[in-house]
């Protein structure tokens, strides 16, 4: 059986609440899937850190982007790894207007609800990825 991990890479964009949401989604997924999900530092990966590059090449990768610049996805692709899934966090925010993040430092109740909603969706996709590898 394949024991690959799922590396979740959020953009962590520092200028917008949605960057904090993407970061918190990564942490929530790791909390929900402690034996499966891990992360790498995006800036270290982008800087060419060999440990990070090996980690993404040897495992499944999910990227979480907060804006149209797609830093997480593009920087993963730049090291020869096509993410198994890429999520645009802004899209989830648009689909859940009642769950609005409040600030960058504290995303508030709405932001935390959005984190929960997005994380649950991605966790079910992770289960699917892991299920498919058994086939």
């Amino acid at each position: 059986m394949d024991n690959k991990k799922v590396i979740v890479i959020p953009c962590s964009g520092i200028g917008k609440p949605i960057g904090t949401v993407s970061r918190e989604v990564a942490y929530e997924i790791m909390r929900l899937k402690p034996d499966t999900a891990e992360t790498v530092c995006l800036a270290a990966l982008t800087s060419g850190d060999e440990e990070s590059i090996k980690k993404i090449k040897d495992n499944y990768v999910i990227t979480l982007d907060g804006c149209a610049k797609h830093c997480a996805q593009k920087n993963t692709q730049a090291y020869g790894k096509e993410p198994d899934k890429n999520y645009m966090i802004l899209k989830f925010a648009a689909q859940n207007p009642d769950k609005k993040p409040e600030g960058i430092i504290d995303i508030g109740k709405g932001g935390r609800e959005l984190v929960k909603t997005i994380s649950e969706k991605i966790v079910s996709d992770i289960d699917e990825i892991k299920q498919n590898e058994k086939k």
């Binding site: 962590s12 918190e24 992360t39 995006l42 800036a43 800087s47 960058i104």
Partner: protein, 139 residues
């Protein structure tokens, strides 16, 4: 003041944001504390992954303004990237220099409460340097 002697108005703060380390959350939160509260009108920031990947506007800003980098580990991604693309940084901070015990930092999440003291100390250190840099550059 002469037209060509305009005051230097902002210092760039570049945070590592290391997702895989509790210290990354501290560096990000301390940077945000300075940007949004302590030095609202004196500082600005750039997204480090975007900057490294080639954000030209951001690289120009770091070339033309003094920059403080805030890193969470010895890899010093923020400092090394800024010096590679934009020249020498005005000051560099490593969050690990503020951590007295590994028990101080356990949780990576932004929403955790147990890192406030260290975050506050790092934010204070950044603010002091912002003042020093602006004072020095505007003599």
């Amino acid at each position: 003041m002469e037209e060509n002697e305009k005051k230097l108005s902002k210092v760039g703060i570049v945070s590592c944001s290391g997702e895989d380390l509790p210290e990354g959350s501290i560096s990000r939160l301390a940077t945000l504390e300075v940007l949004h509260h302590k030095k609202l009108f004196d500082t600005t920031t750039i997204c480090l992954p975007l900057y490294i990947a080639g954000g030209e506007g951001d690289r120009m800003f770091a070339k033309n303004h003094p920059t403080i980098t805030v890193d969470g580990c010895e890899k010093l991604c923020a400092k090394k990237a800024t010096e590679k693309y934009s020249g020498k940084v005005a000051h560099s901070i490593n969050v690990r220099d503020f951590i007295k015990s590994p028990d101080d930092v356990k949780n990576k999440s932004n929403l955790n409460e147990d890192k406030k003291r260290i975050t506050s100390e790092v934010a204070d250190a950044i603010s002091i340097k912002v003042d020093e840099i602006l004072k020095e550059n505007n003599k």
